[in-house]
């Protein structure tokens, strides 16, 4: 077995070890980098910044706990931005596994920092099954779909919700999601009710939504942890996403090196085999 075969057969656990070291090293030797803001992130920030103070914004927690590292920083930065502008926030989730718990925990924590009062400045509507019916139904009546909030308090007893009947009373929808629910927000809500939508999505989904940015159906896009870091930078609340960029950088460089090394090994091994055969 020549060296190229040995390299090709390298136990994958050595690669796992390299990845682990690449993630841990920047934690031991902390480094921060200058982050350039993409036009899409700037567009989302400007859209929210342009909202009149005290506007009603719907913030969605459409993500599973598995993608918290990418999406939770987006939600937190969004809440800081909205509460700083004194926007009234209605949170909703279409994710059954964990959505209501995450929305409750994150919103209350950030609201407490800004001295916001539940029922007056923000409301958590929670989860209802059947995202198509939920998205469509809120266009006519939010109360028909959510007779109570997540804590079973009737909407009529929440001061903020007395003046919010449907999407017509909502100025902006800020979606943070890790799945294709964004497509339905765009095709059902934005298309029919013309409510402007801004999105923060995981990096897996982000490439798809460039098509909707250029069609004008979406106002702004945050893609993955980098997008979250950009928004944290814009609202001056640098946190986990911003600090995570160092680790992200090192692992990306490692993976690029692995791709190059794998290809060098492949072509060199192929050439060696041809020489042996000749």
């Amino acid at each position: 077995m020549n060296i190229w075969d040995r390299l090709a057969r390298l136990d994958r656990r050595w690669i796992y070890l390299l990845v682990a070291l690449a993630v841990i090293f920047p934690l031991i030797v902390p480094t921060t980098f200058k982050i350039h803001i993409t036009p899409e992130a700037r567009q989302l920030y400007d859209a929210v910044e342009a909202l009149p103070d005290s506007s009603v914004v719907m913030l969605t927690f459409d993500y599973y706990p598995s993608t918290l590292a990418e999406t939770e920083p987006m939600s937190i930065a969004a809440l800081h931005h909205l509460f700083r502008k004194d926007c009234r926030v209605v949170t909703v989730t279409t994710i059954p596994l964990g959505g209501p718990s995450i929305a409750e925990r994150v919103t209350r924590a950030v609201a407490a920092e800004h001295g916001k009062v539940y029922g007056v400045d923000y409301v958590n509507l929670g989860f209802k099954y059947g995202y198509v019916a939920v998205l469509k139904g809120m266009g006519s009546s939010i109360e028909a779909i959510y007779p109570t909030d997540n804590s079973s308090v009737p909407l009529s007893e929440l001061p903020m919700m007395r003046s919010i009947r449907n999407y017509g009373d909502i100025s902006f929808i800020y979606i943070v999601s890790d799945n294709a629910i964004v497509d339905y927000w765009i095709s059902i809500v934005n298309a029919e009710y013309a409510t402007p939508i801004g999105i923060g999505v995981t990096a897996v989904s982000a490439p798809k939504y460039y098509a909707f940015i250029s069609s004008g159906q979406v106002t702004g896009l945050l893609g993955g942890m980098k997008g979250a870091a950009e928004y944290e930078r814009l609202v001056s609340k640098e946190a986990m996403a911003f600090k995570g960029m160092a680790m992200q950088s090192l692992v990306h460089l490692l993976i690029i090196a692995l791709v190059i090394a794998g290809n060098i090994g492949f072509f060199a091994g192929r050439r060696a085999k041809k020489r042996t055969a000749a």
Binding site: V19, P65, S101, Y129, K136, P207, Y210, A211, G262
Partner: protein, 220 residues
């Protein structure tokens, strides 16, 4: 009758949604029916979440009863289901440990056991993708080379170090990648895929409403 009645219900249920698009919710009877119908859908559909739970209970209980291989783990699964569910269903007025509010057993188990494990399962994919990058991503032909080149450019562009490196070749290079690669070529392909998928979804919806597509009904 067993197959005809559901087809008629599917048609009527869908037809109301299609024509209500054209009618104001405030001024017409049909428009006022629409939100009621949608709230009923959320209720009926919600019971499907429990179907999976009943199935998981049945399968695991059978495994425990017959002492199949790994029955201990099946028992663990069953115990976990009901340790989570029963306190959640009890009134929080009885104890702060009941219900689903912060501090309850339900919330604690989710936040400190379920959620970390879910995150970790997906975090392992980083290791697998690195291993795959080394073992499987080969520039065997021009198309694969193009794919890998685009991937490397995007991986560099999305990290601050990489962006700084790309700026060495020109201050506008990252901007070109964003505008022409992501907002141009990528957006065009994604748009083509979105249009194709939307056409497929629309035609499938029509087939379901007209009763041509009945696979959702199952056998019999």
């Amino acid at each position: 009758m067993r197959r005809v009645a559901p087809v008629i219900i599917a048609f009527l249920s869908g037809f109301v949604m299609v024509i209500s698009f054209c009618f104001s919710p405030d001024k017409t009877v049909l428009g006022r029916i629409e939100p009621k119908l949608l709230s009923w859908v959320t209720i009926v559909g919600g019971f499907t979440l429990l179907l999976g739970v009943v199935s998981i209970t049945r399968v695991n209980w059978q495994g425990v009863r017959r002492k199949k291989e790994g029955w201990g783990y099946k028992l663990l699964t069953l115990v976990s289901v009901y340790i989570m569910a029963i306190p959640a269903m009890l009134p929080s007025s009885w104890s702060p440990l009941f219900g689903d509010a912060e501090g309850s057993i339900y919330d604690w188990l989710f936040t400190y056991i379920d959620s970390p494990m879910m995150g970790t399962m997906f975090a392992m994919l980083a290791f697998y993708i690195a291993s795959a990058a080394y073992r499987a991503f080969r520039a065997r032909n021009p198309e694969a080379t193009l794919l890998l080149t685009a991937a490397v450019l995007v991986m560099l562009w999305r990290i601050p170090m990489g962006e700084a490196f790309l700026r060495l070749f020109g201050e506008n290079v990252p901007g070109f990648i964003n505008t022409y690669l992501m907002g141009g070529v990528n957006a065009a392909v994604q748009r083509g895929i979105v249009i194709g998928a939307a056409l497929g979804a629309a035609s499938m919806s029509l087939r379901i409403m007209l009763g041509i597509e009945r696979t959702y009904m199952g056998k019999g």
